[in-house]
Amino acid sequence: MGFFGTLRPGLVQMRVLDLDKTLDFYTNVLGLDEVGRTADGRVMLKGFDEFDHHSVTLRLADEAGLDYVAFKAACPDTLEELKAKTVAFGYQVTELPANGEQPGFGKRYSFKISTGHTFQIYSDVELAAKGPQIKNPDIWTTPPRGMKAQRMDHFLLYGPNVAEAERFLKEVFGMYVPEVCNAPDGSRVAAWITGSNKPHDLAFVEYPKPGKLHHLGFYLQDWRDVGDAADLIAINHLKLDIGPTRHAITRGHSIYFWEPSGNRIEVYAGGYTAYPDNPQRVWDFDQLGRGLFYFSGELIPSFLEIVT
């Protein structure tokens, strides 16, 4: 057996203030493909190297931020198991019908966790019409655009009671926690959590306001693509937050900036290979600058404080 419960975060729904401009960013700059539109005008997108129907939905709204994230379970039996465990953990679960608000997706279960974020789980999703080749496959079908984002990778969420969220993901989703950061009193400041070999499928930072998004991360091939992404940020007059830089935490190469609706985006490459039996890496809060931005070793206030 490989992965224990969830395979990966497979879907996020983002709120955007300007659909046209933000969609233009996602397709022409980040390089995702538009899959289609829902009846109510939301836009479905996916990376060129993703097989499933779509991985990102944009919803025009009067505030920026994140509606929900959804995790793909390995099979329908696992999905039911995860649902039962979620109920037993004490969260109230709602069932969302197949092919409803998210075309192509099977039945989903939805619930809210301690940090105020809405999480969903599903196991069935149609394959995309335009996915990667599988028979004597070429590396791509049409040349990747812009930053050449291959797939959605991870997200960093801000909210209260990260300790409970972490316990939920371990006990219910079968995830593990390769890396953490603790306050001097030993309490959790941040946790990097995964259900796969990626160093993180998601991460949390302790924060008083519930349900906040720090950033949504997309995967690039390598450090050179991260550098090219920096050029595209400049050429397209996007607002840079920090980078190109290297994380000591996760070891990824990275750059952060804001899309036109003000949600922070990261494009990321590399990272170590995580295994559930490896010892956990632990950061002291006073070393977090080095953990996040290894070259400068300095925290920048905008990075820690600004969320949507």
Partner: protein
């Protein structure tokens, strides 16, 4: 004096910085290095540039997140400075 450049005054400190009619007040504040500038998303989403406009004409050029500026706020001159351009000299003030 260039009539196409407006002066933005920060009420608390009396500092002023110039702002062109085709740039946002936040962009001008960043360029001048003056004023209570905090760097954010420049997209109307994060709310870090929220201030009150006490005097002067301005134009909203981008949608401002309702999580940070309610309809009442907006009527009272509260704005995200990355979403507004000047139409004349302006006076702005910090909000708690």
């Amino acid at each position: 004096m260039n009539l196409n450049i407006f002066q933005i005054t920060v009420r608390e400190t009396g500092e002023t910085f110039p702002c062109k009619p085709d740039e946002t007040v936040l962009a001008a504040m960043l360029r001048s290095g003056r004023g209570p500038f905090v760097c954010g998303c420049f997209g109307g989403g994060c709310g870090i540039c929220r201030m009150k406009i006490c005097a002067g004409e301005y134009e909203k050029v981008k949608r401002m997140s309702r999580a940070h500026v309610s309809e009442d706020d907006e009527k009272n001159g509260v704005a995200l400075l990355c979403c507004v351009r000047p139409r004349g000299d302006m006076v702005i003030t910090k909000l708690s």
